[in-house]
């Protein structure tokens, strides 16, 4: 073989065009072939919009194909328009055709929490008593499990005692003291990113 005599500097496997018959049998994952390049490019070749087609060429028209972008906040949703606003009457015709059924869209949450509304004022009194008397045993989560409600509801009903808060603060400080610079910075960055959501940045 000519290739073995000349000894190219790069290995054969990265130069597949030198081995036309062998590359078929070898499974090289990350290598881009001439054939695959052509295939990828063919797939990326998107057809132009129908409005650009030859059937529309004959007559004068306005072609409007806006790029996809986030809707403007200055465009008030129809529901938020006051009752006497003219735009309320003008819009529904366009809206009715465009929207799909909302119920068919998937929800953001995997499961919807089931709301029971089963707790009585006596239960609430007991929750408060338990949390105040023995805060270490009866945490928010253990109380929520016992009374079959959400931890948020426990927090709404009663706050933690100052002693418990001080203990929890110490625990948190002990945990955070073991963080290295990387973890600390990552946590801080996460907090900053979260704040940036509220400013829509």
């Amino acid at each position: 073989m000519a290739a073995s005599i000349t000894m190219p500097k790069r290995p054969f496997l990265t130069l597949p065009f030198l081995l036309p018959s062998l590359t078929e049998s070898l499974s090289i994952g990350a290598v881009r072939h001439q054939s695959s390049y052509r295939r990828t490019k063919q797939r990326l070749r998107v057809k132009p919009d129908a409005s650009f087609g030859p059937s529309q060429q004959g007559r004068d028209q306005i072609i409007y194909n806006p790029p996809s972008s986030a809707p403007s906040v200055y465009h008030t949703p129809s529901k938020f328009l006051p009752a006497n606003d003219v735009r309320r009457v003008m819009r529904p015709a366009a809206a009715a055709t465009a929207t799909t059924d909302v119920n068919e869209l998937p929800s953001v949450y995997k499961t919807q929490p089931e709301r029971k509304y089963h707790l009585t004022p006596e239960d609430v009194e007991e929750i408060r008593k338990l949390r105040l008397n023995d805060p270490m045993t009866w945490s928010r989560y253990s109380l929520a499990k016992k009374f079959e409600c959400s931890p948020l509801f426990i927090a709404k009903v009663c706050g933690a005692s100052p002693e418990k808060k001080a203990i929890q603060k110490q625990v948190l400080e002990a945990v955070q003291s073991r963080w290295g610079p990387k973890r600390r910075m990552a946590r801080e960055d996460r907090k900053l990113r979260r704040e940036a959501w509220g400013r829509d940045e």
Binding site: P71, T76, V108
Partner: protein
């Protein structure tokens, strides 16, 4: 041997008034002196008291604005100084000011109270008028254009339109230069003010003059609605004017000048001209109000809003997504109330997209604009259509 010119040497040591007349400088300095001159010739206590006695007044402090006779005799007419300044004429033309506004008044707007304490010759009164006009025109524009805007955002927008920083920037765009030190020999086209001594704390310049009880308690929580009652149009505590001997900052002096120009236009050319000037120079500046918002819990606020307005509770639904299992996914989440979409947002996590969607829905509520909003001052125009009341509703969501 070359002849020495002693007169030219003397110019560095002697002030122009003392110096002997020079062919070259005669023309320049004789017209440069003005009545508004802040460097009045040194006078002994006796001259002041004599003049005051002449006017038969008991309190010399109350008559500060009356100039001693000898000052007037020495100073030349201010009319010539203002009319002969090329800078001032250029500024008048550049701003396209009405011809009824004379150059003398424009020269007066450039003299700050710290440079000339005499209220008849500084721009303090014009600035007070201009400040009220600016606050009135801006607030009516904001309230009528965005009737649902939260109060804190209104304050921020007011500050962005007519706050001291913006006004100082405007004066720089107009090409106003500062005089290094105020004085009679200064060209009236320069902004004259006495600077704050370096190292002075900014808080110490003017005293707090708020009517709010316990105003000096800085750490106490202040409600937004109490700011309407106690504070100024930007929601900041009201401060008194600067003490006599103290200077002002560059920013304050420039802002005062811009306000004084508007006040002068109002006095000389009337309301329509002042309104036009405001629209051309203040309102024409681009301000994206949607960037002034900052929400901490938009989803909660939106739920409260929908409950208040009797809409169905808002529900977050995934509109589209890509790369859920990849390193950089993108989710597009819409917030729906019944079948109506309230807002849409995208993000790299479902929670982020949901928060952004709720935020865009809230902004959609707050940034509602009536069709062709009119402001109350538009009724002053000739042949204005009959007034229709501006849109008012509950507006801000209070959680």
């Amino acid at each position: 041997m070359k002849r020495l010119q002693l007169q030219r040497w003397s110019s560095t040591a002697l002030s122009p008034r003392v110096r002997t007349n020079n062919r070259l400088h005669q023309q320049l300095y004789s017209t440069g002196l003005r009545l508004q001159s802040t460097v009045s010739p040194l006078q002994s206590e006796s001259t002041i008291s004599e003049n005051v006695e002449d006017a038969s007044f008991q309190n010399p402090d109350a008559m500060r604005h009356i100039r001693p006779q000898d000052t007037i005799a020495i100073s030349l007419s201010p009319v010539e100084a203002a009319t002969q300044s090329a800078k001032l004429a250029a500024l008048h033309a550049r701003l396209y000011l009405p011809s009824r506004l004379p150059l003398q008044t424009l020269a007066r707007t450039l003299v700050d109270a710290s440079a000339d304490s005499n209220v008849d010759f500084n721009n303090e009164s014009l600035a007070t008028l201009g400040h009220d006009l600016l606050a009135n025109y801006t607030s009516e524009h904001l309230i009528c254009t965005y009737p649902r805007l939260p109060l804190s955002v209104t304050f921020a927008a007011m500050y962005a339109y007519v706050g001291p920083k913006t006004l100082a920037a405007i004066s720089k765009e107009w090409g106003i230069d500062n005089a290094t030190v105020p004085g009679g020999e200064v060209d009236p086209g320069f902004l004259q003010f006495r600077r704050v001594a370096p190292g002075t704390a900014v808080e110490d310049i003017s005293q707090l003059q708020s009517a709010r009880p316990y105003a000096d308690q800085k750490k106490w929580r202040m409600t937004v609605s109490s700011k309407i009652f106690y504070d100024d149009e930007f929601g900041d505590a009201i401060k008194g004017s600067v003490a006599l001997g103290q200077g002002v900052t560059d920013e304050t002096a420039r802002a005062t000048f811009v306000r004084a120009v508007l006040g002068a236009i109002y006095l000389h050319a009337g309301r329509p001209a002042a309104k036009r000037f405001f629209e051309q120079h203040i309102l024409s500046r681009h301000l994206n109000i949607s960037e002034l918002f900052n929400f901490s819990q938009p989803a909660r606020d939106l739920a409260r809003l929908c409950a208040r307005e009797n809409f169905e509770a808002p529900v977050a639904k995934i509109v589209s997504e890509t790369g859920r299992k990849s390193r950089s996914p993108v989710f597009v989440v819409g917030i729906f109330s019944g079948q109506d979409k309230l807002g849409e947002g995208s993000g790299s996590s479902l929670m982020e997209a949901r928060e952004r969607a709720a935020l865009s829905a809230l902004k959609g509520w707050y940034l509602y604009t009536p069709i062709n909003p009119r402001v109350p001052s538009s009724m002053e125009e000739e042949g204005a259509a009959p007034w229709k009341p501006a849109h008012i509703d509950l507006g801000e969501v209070i959680v």
